[in-house]
């Protein structure tokens, strides 16, 4: 932290020089934009691990990590930020211990908590960009609603088995949100977790890595209100030949969206009061949080 917010130290010039050289990145200005950015990563699992590694290495100034899980041996084949000696420790602590040595310039803030109706606004409002690295529809709707109401862009990733999905949601409050894409939650019995369905480590890792690329594009202003187009990108790790990405052109903001539309039904109050019960909404009244 040897330099001020609007310039880079010699150490930072050397550390980030190779990415500042890339024309698409945008040089020193973009590096300073990264340095002044605050990113919240929700979930330090299969998606969060590579996203955290690359965002920390790239020089994002402040990174928050929220997760209440502890490291389990069944995580280790894919959650490469957690080593075997961290089994039993909180994932946020395990993540912080490696990330702080990867790049001491980054201010790492950890939340050893579930994200809930009650803390979501307090946590999310401190950040500029939210990475949704969670694994249940319930949390995806909660992150979306709080982020939309606080005006935050979301980079959203998910994966299962050999496939993955990626999107940038509520881009600068003008792009479509998760509810615009999915006004109704999926039937509870149609949702499969990585625990139940399994997942190939580098396949989910690839999606987390793509999330880091999208985050850098948002933070360094490669995406603008003029050039941003709503999309859903689908990854397949075992396509007929090699691996594949497909990008689909998606709907814009829906005027009748319950949270980002013209007459929203969802507000900070309906969430914080618990009136909006995400468990119930997603059909998992007995579901464990995270």
């Amino acid at each position: 932290r040897s330099s001020t917010a609007n310039q880079l130290s010699l150490e930072e010039f050397r550390r980030y020089g190779r990415q500042m050289l890339v024309p698409e990145f945008g040089g020193v200005d973009s590096q300073i934009a990264l340095k002044n950015s605050k990113v919240l990563v929700v979930g330090a699992g299969g998606l969060g691990c590579p996203a955290l590694l690359y965002l920390t290495a790239s020089g994002v100034g402040t990174i928050g990590i929220i997760d209440y899980d502890t490291v389990d041996i069944t995580n280790l084949h894919r959650q490469v930020l957690h080593s075997t000696d961290q089994v039993g420790n909180f994932k946020v602590d395990s993540a912080k211990s490696y990330l702080s040595s990867l790049n001491p310039n980054v201010n790492l803030i950890t939340y050893r908590e579930f994200l809930t109706n009650f803390n979501a606004f307090e946590v999310i409002e401190k950040y500029d960009l939210i990475l949704d690295c969670t694994d249940t529809p319930m949390l995806r709707y909660l992150i979306n609603d709080a982020s939309v109401l606080l005006g935050k862009t979301i980079v959203s990733g998910s994966g299962l088995k050999t496939e993955g999905q990626l999107s940038v949601l509520n881009f600068k409050n003008s792009g479509p949100c998760y509810r615009c894409f999915y006004p109704k939650p999926p039937p509870a019995n149609s949702v499969t977790s990585c625990q139940d369905g399994g997942v190939i480590g580098p396949c989910i890792g690839l999606v987390g890595t793509m999330m880091a690329v999208e985050a850098i594009k948002v933070l360094a202003n490669s995406y603008t209100l003029e050039n941003f187009k709503p999309f859903l990108t689908i990854y397949s790790g075992y396509s007929a030949v090699s691996q594949s990405l497909r990008t689909f052109k998606m709907r814009g903001k829906k005027l009748n969206c319950e949270v980002c539309g013209e007459n929203p039904l969802i507000s900070k109050d309906t969430i914080q009061s618990g009136l909006l019960d995400y468990n119930l909404f997603c059909g998992h009244p007995d579901y464990d949080v995270v």
């Binding site: 998606l47 299962l160 939650p185 999926p186 039937p187 149609s190 977790s193 052109k249």
Partner: protein, 118 residues
Amino acid sequence: MKVTVELLGGLHQIFTFGAKIVDVNVLEEAELGALVETLCLSLSSSFSNCSPSLADPVYRTSLARFVDCEHLQLTGEYKIIPGIMVLINDVDWELFDEEETVLHPNDVITFTSTLHGG
């Protein structure tokens, strides 16, 4: 006429043909809703030679991963469940007319269930 159907996000597993990409014959100027019905009927053929009943729990569980079975039972309409994205030539069906979109020869229709794992 022929259209191509892609089934992503694990959806291919519920159909008889079991493939991720398959050519399907539909009537000229068929709407997307008719294609969904055709796909569901192909699914039913994997259970028996005659049309299985929605009361058959195995059949219903499979079908329920694609269409709303309650709605089907009440109305006879095949309605895609929430959480499945439908794309016509790589464009969201909401930018066309959803179920009522008129199909053209060689259109590629992609169905993908939303993944939640992380």
